[in-house]
């Protein structure tokens, strides 16, 4: 505690000069169900500056930004913009005042086109009619700003999470706001997309836009922010100039104690094969995927967003159907025709889209965790709440989930939702565990917990596949890394060979694909829509 207090005292205080320019929040507080989640937070956002907001999962970052954006009403505190009181009662008030939020959870209308999603709520008209050419043209420009090549005319349904995150950012930019809050935009983005966003932030700052940037990637924060603000348990515990603080100090402020990163190398894997994939192909999506994962091995999948990694692992887990290929688990050929047969074969997959595929946000955390395992947990065909709770509580302790598991999981913070999702697939020990973007939106502490869990699992003989857009993560964890681009497997690199440069070079390897990557919509198989998944 003392460390933090010292840190807090040494910080530079933005309000000291008494200048009222910018968006100034004073004493914001908020309680849910009588439990305070924000306790008097002060944040000063100057035009043309970037405030990095950090904090553990559940610290109150999203709550703060929701208050500023008029989505959630504060229980206390006040805000001013350029000295004028700012009291947004609804999101549109915030937008009118030039405050835009890029939400942590992506929110799209799947049926509408990309351009319409960007201009939703204020479609430009010409002579009273929607000016379609204009919105398509403008949408394309905004999309290009964030580095997206998505056709603005296509419906959002069917786009990957990353593509949707880009649209979400384009939507905020198109509002031409004076203040923008980025709530973990990079969580769903790959590195090059993130770089686009940074470039865009730089350009925005030059033009006097005030920015709040929330992220768990602390290097990123240091890279973009001018000042860094840290929340812990709903209270402000630090406010520093970005260049005056080290990553370790940030971590210490976040978790409230000394914190050591363990970058230990994984223990060697065994020689036994956990999973073997041969000639796996799916027309128009990926082809010729061949690899083995040994027991005890952590096997990474690297590649750019859209390379087809998710499609491959979904197919292995039975979420999608392959056209060709052979899969065996621990030497036994398995025929995986749906997720159930994947689970029965010992393959568990933590999907990348928490909201659409991972968790039922309206049900409790405990119910989500035990959902796939209820048959096994029941005795004489009966499953009791006690059993569900007990199972969930064990995993809560195991994964250090902060938050209650008997309330709808949707009201947990993003990072804790991710842990619940992971817990769901650890109830029974899988033979093969597939993790697609396992640390999306997870704080450093939790990340370490998850990494350690992954390593510990591998050490018990589980074959683990990690798909991640964070190069550092995938390289740091894995024994070997498979690099994909354009739906093809480019190489499998050993830990020693897998330098960031080598992986990037392969990921960018410019081999044109003969088939268009979009899912065969008119074919027999269903295609997936990340936001609203439909029936199979």
């Amino acid at each position: 505690m003392t460390v933090v207090q010292t840190l807090a005292q040494t910080t530079y205080d933005g309000q000291a000069d008494g200048d009222s320019a910018g968006l100034i929040c004073t004493g914001l507080s908020k309680s849910y169900w009588g439990i305070p989640v924000l306790k008097g937070v002060d944040i000063t956002l100057r035009p043309g500056s970037v405030v990095g907001l950090i904090g553990e999962n559940g610290a109150g970052k999203s709550t703060t930004s929701s208050i500023i954006a008029g989505i959630v009403e504060a229980n206390g505190g006040s805000m001013t913009i350029d000295g004028v009181p700012y009291e947004p009662a609804r999101p549109s008030d915030a937008l009118k005042n030039g405050v835009a939020l890029i939400h942590q959870e992506i929110r799209m209308v799947p049926e509408l086109s990309v351009a319409e999603n960007i201009f939703i709520g204020r479609l430009p008209r010409r002579r009273g009619l929607i000016d379609r050419n204009r919105i398509n043209d403008e949408a394309r420009e905004y999309l290009e700003l964030v580095g997206s090549q998505t056709d603005p005319r296509r419906p959002v349904a069917g786009l990957s999470i990353a593509a949707q995150q880009e649209i979400e950012i384009a939507r905020a930019l198109s509002r031409e706001p004076k203040y923008i809050i980025f709530d973990e935009p990079s969580a769903s983005l790959g590195q090059s997309e993130t770089q686009h966003v940074f470039a865009q932030i730089a350009a925005l700052r030059q033009r006097g836009v005030g920015i709040v940037y929330i992220s768990h990637r602390l290097e990123e924060i240091k890279e973009v922010a001018d000042t860094i603000v840290c929340l812990r348990d709903g209270a402000l515990v630090g406010n520093w100039p970005a260049n005056g603080i080290t990553k370790d100090e940030m971590v210490k402020a976040m978790v409230g104690r000394d914190f050591v990163f363990s970058h230990r190398a994984p223990k060697p894997a065994t020689d036994e094969i956990a999973l073997s994939v041969t000639g796996l192909s799916k027309a128009g999506v990926f082809e010729g995927i061949d690899f083995d994962v040994r027991r005890g091995e952590i096997f990474g999948f690297a590649g750019l967003v859209g390379a087809g990694r998710t499609e491959v692992v979904r197919t292995i887990a039975g979420a999608d159907q392959a056209d060709a290929g052979k899969i065996s688990v621990r030497g036994k050929v398995v025929y995986i025709k749906n997720p159930r047969s994947g689970i029965d074969a010992g393959i568990a997959m933590v999907p990348e889209d928490r909201k659409g595929q991972g968790l039922n946000l309206d049900r409790t955390g405990a119910e989500n965790i035990t959902l796939p395992w209820e048959k096994g947990l029941s005795s004489a065909g009966i499953i009791t709440k006690k059993k569900v709770t007990a199972t969930a509580n064990k995993l809560r302790d195991f994964l250090d989930i902060r938050g209650r598991l008997d309330i709808p999981v949707g009201s947990l913070s993003g990072g804790n939702q991710q842990k619940v999702l992971l817990a769901k697939w650890l109830v029974n020990e899988p033979k093969v565990l597939i993790l697609d973007e396992p640390t999306r939106g997870v704080d450093v502490g939790a990340k370490m917990t998850i990494y350690e869990t992954i390593r510990a699992l591998a050490e018990t003989g589980v074959g683990v596949i990690v798909v991640s857009s964070e190069l550092e993560e995938v390289l740091g964890l894995s024994h070997r890394v498979l690099v994909m681009s354009g739906g093809r497997q480019r190489a499998i690199l050993d830990r020693a060979e897998a330098t960031p440069e080598a992986v990037m070079a392969l990921a960018l390897s410019n081999v044109p694909r003969e088939a268009p990557l979009e899912s065969p919509i008119d074919g027999e198989e269903e295609f997936r829509t990340p936001i609203r998944m439909q029936e199979n």
Partner: protein
């Protein structure tokens, strides 16, 4: 201050290779998507409709006569007018069970004001439309502000409106309207019955609104994801109230058509139309979950139902078997609609 400013393009860090790699792919998919876009403009159940029409043309010599086709148009006019309102509501993810009762109530109110209270007919007519609007408004308020599930809100107004329609005259029909009013459904405009013209005009106006006007387009956004719509500053509640009110007015218009056709206002008119109205919209490819559906599709759905009923009459299919045939044909027609079957649960 514009963010998109051609002079200040932000430096794009070393990402060009990645993008150039994606470029050919998106070009390729551009074509596919164009084709798909055009395909998606064709309402799915159209194939079903065409098959039914071709079959009936062979089965009955009277089916393809101009006279019969115009009859079909006027036969579907009341249900058609109501189905426009129903589509709008269904787009929002709502449902309106009260249409049939509103038809009866507004028609009876109009007639009562004219014949019983002695108001001038034109005033009574407007009052009848206002009654429809009022019930719609109540639906809208219960749904948007009372936050009742639309099913319950409109179930309540359905029941209440049906009762009131009967209450006005204790079940008696009211007859005897001005000639010009009766003539509406007995006159042709360039060979097309006026009610058909009204029907098509309402479809066209509504389709235009949905496609080209932001407030119409907003229905898709609200039905597709209400939270996004709200966060984007769309007036969700106002849209709901507006749409339910429009549906109420359209039910009243349908009531006028029925009243004019029979020269008689009947308290039980429209009661049997509810399922037809919703069926038309759903057969037309709209999803009851909201956010998807089109007026073109609804029109096709309307014709499927209209043509089927007409064809059965022409062929003198046994009355008991008619529902069996209709059920089978609906299922078959929609099963062929691969697009919508893929999309929804």
């Amino acid at each position: 201050m514009a963010i998109v400013d051609r002079n200040v393009t932000p430096p794009r860090p070393d990402s060009t290779p990645a993008h150039s790699e994606i470029a050919p792919r998106s070009a390729a998919s551009g074509n596919t998507s164009r084709v798909r876009q055009i395909m998606s403009q064709i309402p799915g159940p159209l194939i079903g409709l065409i098959v039914i029409v071709v079959a009936l043309s062979f089965l009955s010599p009277y089916f393809l006569t101009p006279r019969n086709l115009l009859n079909i148009l006027s036969q579907v006019s009341a249900v058609g007018v109501m189905s426009v309102g129903a589509l709008l509501i269904i787009l929002l993810g709502g449902i309106d069970l009260s249409v049939g009762s509103v038809l009866a109530l507004s028609s009876m109110s109009m007639a009562a004001m004219y014949k019983m209270a002695g108001w001038p007919f034109e005033v009574a007519l407007v009052a009848g439309l206002l009654v429809g609007a009022l019930v719609g408004l109540i639906n809208g308020i219960l749904t948007a502000y009372g936050k009742l599930q639309p099913f319950i809100a409109t179930l309540a107004t359905m029941s209440a409106a049906a009762g009131l329609a009967l209450f006005i005259t204790n079940g008696n029909p009211i007859t005897g309207f001005p000639d010009w009013f009766v003539a509406i459904t007995a006159t042709s405009l360039l060979g097309i019955p006026i009610e058909g013209v009204i029907l098509v005009a309402i479809f066209a106006i509504a389709a235009f609104w949905l496609k080209f006007r932001p407030s119409g387009r907003a229905l898709y956004a609200i039905g597709g994801n209400e939270e996004v719509a709200r966060l984007s500053g769309l007036p969700v509640r106002r849209a709901k109230i507006l749409v339910y009110t429009i549906a109420g007015i359209l039910a009243a218009v349908a009531g006028l058509l029925v009243t004019s056709r029979l020269d008689s206002a009947q308290p039980t008119a429209g009661a049997a139309d509810l399922l037809n109205v919703i069926a038309v919209v759903v057969i037309g490819g709209a999803s009851l979950a909201g956010g998807s559906g089109s007026l073109l599709g609804t029109f096709v759905g309307l014709l499927i139902i209209g043509v089927l009923n007409n064809g059965m009459s022409l062929l003198n299919v046994s009355a008991n078997l008619q529902p069996v045939v209709i059920g089978a044909v609906i299922a078959a027609a929609v099963l062929t609609d691969r697009k919508s079957s893929r999309r929804h649960t």
